[in-house]
Structures are given as structure tokens and as C-alpha cells.
Symmetry: C2
Subunit: 332 residues, 2 copies
């Protein structure tokens, strides 16, 4: 193959906020395929907050990215050549191909796109890892019952948007929390949240009380920090808090939980979870989510950066909340 591979590798571990200098672009040869491998041209790269954790020295959900290694990331691509019996040239595939134009795979953890009728990017969003994350946290930890109130932070994001819509499908009142009027308007008008609170407009306590007058039964938390404490002031007895992410602390900020008594007094179940722990549930989740998307019950918005060259900037912008919905990079 004559084409060169372009890769984004981790150049340095961020001391606090990550910056563009923490990434480095590398040109590499596309290797020859060994028997059992196939070559994927990456079409769409998914950018997700968890990647920030992989850049750190310490233990994250999974193995960190080492310095000089290609940044991890889910992607949708096209098989361009194959010496693997299960994958043929032209196959559209979903896998952890990383921040690069081409990836060699032995098929492990790779699947063909399950349903060609849906847009291929949906498998990186509402019917992919972020959607499954929402499905799993809400289903396995949140267990919402009809009539309950479900609060979702980062409500307009790839995970939160699905969590809120699944709460509505479950017959719950869905209250979003998001940064800025535009995101909140999107959450209510496009995604169907009952209400959405703009945390950038000031402390959320009064707005939360108004939006969840009967208290909070489930809090799907993507952010941690002061917002988690505010919600803890409004939780009902027996509330469940699927702890999905801690964006507020990803750059090293101290984000203690201060309202610890609420956990005890209200018998709260607070549970961290990682979507990759239950790969056995992914097929069922993807089927269900794809069905919701196809039926229009789950909607989504995408923000697309064009070209792998723009991946770091798009990623950093996403961490600052500059995107709306699912952040993607159109690579090829």
C-alpha cells in the first residue's frame, strides 16, 4: 500500500487541563497484512470524555495510553484489504481503531455494522458505546420506575441525551442539567426532556427544586462535583445514582462529595460503573437502542470535526463543553 498512515499519539501527560501539545501527529507506513489480519480505513472517529482519563499516569477504568502510543478510540471504518476469513473488502466495521487513518485488526472486538438501514455514525453514538453506557447505567443501577423523576447531568451530551430519552421511554419525568441556554433548549425541544437546568446560569438549587418538585429518584451523573452535591440535597429515600463520569474532575480539580449525610439518611445507592465491564449486555443494548432510534423515540445530534488533524482541538473543545451532542471526527 502506498498510502501513509496518519496517527495521533500521546505526547505528554497533562498536568491539569489537557492541551494540544499533549498530542503529536505521526506519519507511519501502513504495514503489510499478516494472515488473519485485515486493514481498516477509519471513516469516523468517536471522541469521548473517558479518553481524558487514559491520558493520565494513574489508574483509570482501563489501561492508560502510554507516551508515544496512538490515542485510543472507537471508530467506524471500511475494510480495504483482508487476509481474515470473517471480514472482506468493503465491509463496514465498528471497533476500537484509535486516532488514526488506518488500523490493522485481527477482528478481536470488531463487529460489522449491525443494521445498514441506520446512519453509520449511530454506532458511535446513540446505539453505540455512549448509548449503551446510558442504557446500562440507567438499567443496571438507576432502575427507574414509571412516574419517578430522573435527573441527568451533561444532558445534551452523547450519553446524557440517551439517558434522558430512555427515562422518558420508561415513563419517568426527565430533568436535564447542561451548560448554557442552547444546550438546555436542545434537551427540551429536540430530545424531549421535561425540563433542563442551565448550571452556568448560577447555583442550581432553586431551579432543581422547581424542576423536580417531588424530589429526585435517579440521578444519572456524568460530572460529579458541586452538581452532585446539589442533587444530593434533593434526593428521595432510596434514590439511585449511577456514577458514569466525573467531568468536573478530569483536569485535576478537587471534587469532593460534601453532602455525605444525604447518602446515609436517604439510603442512596451510589454506584460507579463502566460500560465495558458488561460486554455480554452490548448486543441486547444495541438492538434495543437501534430500535428506538429507527422508531424516532431516541434522537441525537452530532458535532463533526473534519479531518484527523482537527481531532485534538475537537477533543479539547468537547472537554470544555463546546460541542452539542455526539462529537465525531470525519477522518476519511
Amino acid at each position: 500500500m502506498n498510502e501513509k498512515n496518519l496517527q495521533v499519539v500521546l505526547a505528554s501527560r497533562p498536568a491539569a487541563a489537557a492541551g494540544e501539545s499533549d498530542f503529536r501527529f505521526v506519519e507511519a507506513a501502513v504495514p503489510d497484512l499478516r494472515e488473519g489480519d485485515f486493514l481498516v480505513r477509519v471513516d469516523w472517529l468517536s471522541l469521548d470524555p473517558y479518553m481524558r482519563g487514559r491520558m493520565n499516569e494513574g489508574k483509570s477504568y482501563a489501561a492508560r495510553v502510554e507516551l508515544g502510543e496512538v490515542m485510543v478510540g472507537g471508530a467506524v471504518g471500511t475494510v480495504v484489504s483482508s487476509r481474515h476469513g470473517g471480514f472482506a473488502e468493503g465491509d463496514k466495521v465498528l471497533g476500537s481503531f484509535g486516532w488514526q487513518r488506518f488500523a490493522v485488526s485481527d477482528g478481536k472486538g470488531v463487529m460489522k455494522l449491525p443494521d445498514p438501514r441506520l446512519p453509520e455514525t449511530v454506532w458511535l453514538g446513540a446505539a453505540g458505546m455512549p448509548g449503551i453506557t446510558a442504557w446500562m447505567g440507567l438499567g443496571q443501577v438507576g432502575s427507574p420506575r414509571p412516574g419517578e423523576t430522573v435527573v441527568v447531568s451533561a444532558a445534551s451530551g452523547a450519553v446524557g441525551s440517551v439517558a434522558g430519552q430512555l427515562a422518558k421511554i420508561a415513563g419517568c419525568r426527565a430533568v436535564g442539567i447542561a451548560g448554557g441556554a442552547a444546550k438546555c433548549e436542545h434537551a427540551v425541544k429536540a430530545l424531549g426532556f421535561d425540563e433542563c437546568i442551565d448550571y452556568k446560569a448560577g447555583p442550581i438549587d432553586a431551579a432543581l427544586k422547581a424542576a423536580a418538585p417531588g424530589g429526585v429518584d435517579v440521578y444519572f451523573d456524568n460530572v460529579g462535583g458541586a452538581i452532585l452535591d446539589a442533587v444530593l440535597r434533593r434526593v428521595n429515600t432510596g434514590a439511585r445514582i449511577p456514577l458514569c463520569g466525573l467531568i468536573a474532575g478530569y483536569d485535576g480539580a478537587d471534587i469532593p462529595i460534601r453532602n455525605v449525610f444525604s447518602l446515609l439518611v436517604n439510603r442512596v445507592r451510589l454506584q460507579g460503573f463502566i460500560v465495558s465491564d458488561r460486554m455480554d449486555l452490548w448486543p441486547a443494548a444495541m438492538r434495543e437502542l437501534a430500535g428506538h432510534v429507527a422508531a424516532g423515540r431516541i434522537r441525537y445530534h452530532e458535532t463533526v470535526a473534519h479531518g484527523l488533524e482537527n481531532a485534538p482541538r475537537a477533543f479539547l473543545g468537547m472537554l470544555r463543553g463546546e460541542n452539542l451532542g455526539k462529537q465525531l471526527v470525519k477522518v476519511s
Copy 2:
């Protein structure tokens, strides 16, 4: 009846640490019995940390004690006269009779002592509310599996001592945390904990690492605060934390959870629980615990204050950790 009743009522709500002046002694007439009531002479009063929460203005597990009201408390007593079909003079009964010498009851929430072969105080301790608390938190939230490591704070206390021994019965390694060398020695030598860490001897991190070299699978937490954070640094993936009490914060100290990332990264389930939420489980728990006590598999130690006059002092001492094991007041 000619005898006067002596009662301990809540005189004021403590601003920080509770003191003797927050209690007041009241002499009252023992009322005549109405049809359906019976009169109990309180023999043993149980003193428990949860009572501190009931003294506060704010929401606690259950209704607070109002100013001028008799302090709540479980007790063992003897029926001295009865106009109730189900209870006769001489019956030994267990109920929430409060901090007083005599209590009138309609039988609601009162049971006859289930097994006369056991010492009657066991129903206030290892086979009573504190033991059931340990049983419930460990069983319903902790779910220890053989070979796992269970850490218990306030390990020599009425709840912690049972939690640790139940962990041993479940085939786990039991590591206690307690204040002072004497309590730790008691936990290991009398109760059978594998190890016990004296938190008063300094930061517990190194000792915890040594005592739980394979990490912590279950942390039965009675105290919260810095000890919870230290344990969060050592939890294994999928750890469970039954949150039973927050003694470190009962006097108003700020006790944030700082190690929030551990909850996420290690997929920790942290769950507050209150033993009175599941009264349906009490009979089975009492049977099981009484069986363990009768067989010598669960041991316990009692600290007894003599006379209701000494109840406030004993209670305050217990909150400071001055007792060993179950704190009781011999009332009559």
C-alpha cells in the same frame, strides 16, 4: 401505681458536640392503663449512635425527637401490669420504650424475648438492632464472598463487632479499624478479626495496605470521613460499601468524600441503609444471629452504666468512643 416515672427528655439541640445540658430529667406520674395497653418496667436501655441524629433539627433516618420529648431508645423490660390480651404481667419484652423507667405500650413494635436461653441483653446487641444492622448491611449491600477481604470501622462496637464476625463466618478475611490498642486487641483476640488497625496511632494507609494486601472488597462503614477516604484508596474493582453510620460527622464536622474517582474507577457500590427499612427481615436475622451467639460463633462485650441518671453521660462517652462493645444502661 405509686411509683414515679423518671424520664430523660431532650432539653436542647446540640450546636456541635452534644453535652449533658442537652438532656433533662423529668419526674412524671405513671399513667393509668387504658384497655389494650400494658405497663413496662424498663430493665435495660440500649444506647446507640443513631440517637445523636435524632437530637438534631434536620432530617435524620427517622423522625427527630422534639424538645421536651423522651429520648428514643430500644430497651428490654418486664410487663408489670397489663390490660392487653397478648402481654401478661411478668413477660419479658423488647421494644422502643425510650429513656425512662416505665413505658406504656399498646404492643405495637413490641415482642416477647424470642429465646429465654440467651441473656436478655443480647436482644439489644448482637441479636438485636445492632446485630441486625450488621447482618443487613453485610448481606444486602456487602454480599461478601468466601476469600474476600472485609474491612469494618468501629470494629469493636455493637454493630462492627457483629459485622466482622459475620464476615469471618462467610469465609472472609476480616480487618477491623478501631480507636486505641485495647479495642484493637479485643477485636482480634476476643472477636476473631484477622487484624485490627488503630486509627488513633496515625494515618491508616500503610497499616491498611499491610492488613489487606489483596485490597478491600467490602467496607462496612460506621464512621465516614478520613477513614472512608483511606479505604477508598485500597478498594478492589467492584467493591461494596454498606454505609451504616457517619460517626465522624455526628457533631457537625465536615466529612467530605474526597476520593470520588475511586468510586468510579473501581465501580464501587456505596449504599446507605437503615435497619428499620426492612422490618420484614428482622425475624430471620434475629434467629440466625441468636443461633450464632448460642453456638459461640458470635461473641460480644458489654459496657454497662448503672442507673438511668447515668444514661446521658454514658451516651456522650459512647459517642467519644469510651465504651467497649455494646453500651447499655441498667435501669431497674
